[in-house]
């Protein structure tokens, strides 16, 4: 009994302390160093922020280069497939073009009407001005635990923590980490994401919570409320971070929301700087 315990302790000590021919450090030394780095980073000592920022910027750039072969292969296969689909797509587009030409007339009418109504409301034109920074997605490594992307704009471009990130017209997430030349965007489907939203004709208020999967879920609904399928979900702006009315997705079964923007397909996104401008005044 005691000899087996001795064997265990000898082997364990040996595993922790021994250094092979090619090993420069023992495991126990590396474990201690890793623990120190972890706690320094967690408790956010002042000197760690610039160090982390420099490390992040450097590694993101190297990662972009390292990932280029893996990006090229799907792009190349996609191009070949596209070539075959072009003809049938062209026919369909011609038909759609006719429909859009007719719609254009009604859009023009509605735009004029909208302008007139804004004049009547004496609305602040600046409120509707766009202050966006266009950014390229550097890394979108999908982790089973964290859903985030890295973009190529950071504090140098005026980006601040918490700013909303948009793909076309649709909200995709918010900034959670800023470096000098890059930033991390927490996507709406991440487990740590919470966004106040509104939907339906009654303007029901809820919180859109990331599920860790592809579809976030609506929480804090009115008591007994059953979510219908097919309702468009918008930001409510109650948190003071997002403007009200940014489209997010459509409700599906079990209170889940199918996002308008596919997070795995993001190439370029826009960061909304307007909140920063507003706060500055």
């Amino acid at each position: 009994m005691s000899s087996s315990r001795d064997d265990f302790s000898i082997a364990f000590r040996s595993a922790l302390l021994q250094r092979g021919a090619a090993q420069k450090f023992s495991l126990v030394f590396l474990i201690i160093i890793a623990s120190i780095i972890f706690f320094l980073d967690i408790y956010g000592f002042g000197f760690m922020k610039p160090i982390r920022s420099i490390i992040n910027d450097g590694i993101y750039r190297v990662s972009l280069v390292a990932s280029s072969p893996s990006r090229f292969i799907p792009q190349a296969t996609g191009s070949v497939t596209n070539l075959f689909n072009i003809k049938s797509e062209n026919e369909e587009l011609k038909k759609e073009l006719e429909v859009y030409r007719q719609k254009e007339l009604s859009v023009e009418y509605l735009t004029n009407q909208n302008k007139n109504l804004r004049k009547i409301l004496e609305s602040d034109e600046n409120l509707f001005k766009e202050h966006y920074v266009l950014s390229k997605v550097l890394i979108d490594k999908s982790s089973p635990y964290l859903k985030s992307i890295i973009i190529n704009k950071g504090s140098k471009a005026g980006i601040l923590k918490g700013m909303p990130v948009i793909d076309k017209e649709y909200l995709v997430g918010r900034i959670v980490e800023i470096n000098y030349l890059s930033s991390r965007v927490l996507l709406l489907n991440d487990l740590n994401s919470r966004i106040p939203v509104t939907f339906g004709e009654d303007g029901v208020q809820a919180i859109l919570k990331g599920s860790g999967g592809s579809r976030p879920v609506l929480e804090y609904l009115p008591e007994g409320y059953v979510v219908e399928e097919g309702l468009d979900v918008f930001t409510s702006g109650k948190d003071g971070i997002f403007f009200a009315g940014s489209p997010i997705g459509t409700t599906v079964e079990k209170g889940e929301v199918k996002l308008f923007s596919e997070s795995s397909q993001l190439s370029f996104v826009k960061v909304d700087l307007s909140k920063q401008k507003k706060e500055a005044f």
Binding site: S14, A21, F38, S67
Partner: protein
């Protein structure tokens, strides 16, 4: 022109290059588009296999640095993946010290112990000390699928190892 010696050197460094490349690049083993819960951690398999079979191919320092790089790319607090990887290294080294002859079944079982402790430490540190929320279910699925895919990589790496070591002991 690359001579035979350089090629052999590159093949020898294969596991190390693969580990760094996986930590650094966008390549991931999370196939949510095909099957939402399917995700596995190839890095843990690489570390366990090579530390237990040929530790000179994968030093502790490299495991530590690969972990740091992975933390930056994923967005975890620095050092957490290093700790997780080093725990796997520790179990692999212990098993290597305690056993003479291993088969896939013994490796599979001990690998389970390694990833259990590795993911347990990852979960405890993330949930206790950081603001990042991780789901136990996600970690469990990841552990399960990593374990399921282990034999496939075991055979693959054993074959690779046989290529690398061919003629070395002659």
């Amino acid at each position: 022109m690359l001579n035979l010696k350089t090629i052999r050197k590159i093949i020898n460094l294969g596991p190390l290059i693969f580990l760094y490349y996986l930590s650094l690049s966008e390549i991931d083993s999370h196939f949510e588009n095909y099957f939402e819960i399917l995700s596995f951690n190839i890095q843990l398999i690489i570390i366990y296999f090579w530390v237990s079979k040929r530790p000179e191919a994968l030093g502790g320092g490299h495991v530590f640095f690969a972990g740091l790089i992975n933390d930056v790319v994923i967005g975890f607090p620095l050092g957490i993946s290093s700790l997780s990887y080093l725990v796997v290294s520790l179990v692999a080294t212990y098993v290597k010290n305690m056993t003479v002859n291993t088969r896939i079944t013994t490796d599979w079982f001990t690998f389970f112990i390694a990833i259990f402790f590795s993911n347990l430490i990852l979960f405890i540190l993330l949930s206790r000390f950081s603001e990042i929320t991780v789901s136990v279910t996600e970690i469990s699925y990841n552990t399960f699928f990593t374990l399921i895919f282990f034999p496939f990589f075991w055979f693959l790496f054993t074959y690779y190892n046989s290529i690398v070591t061919t003629g070395r002991n002659v």
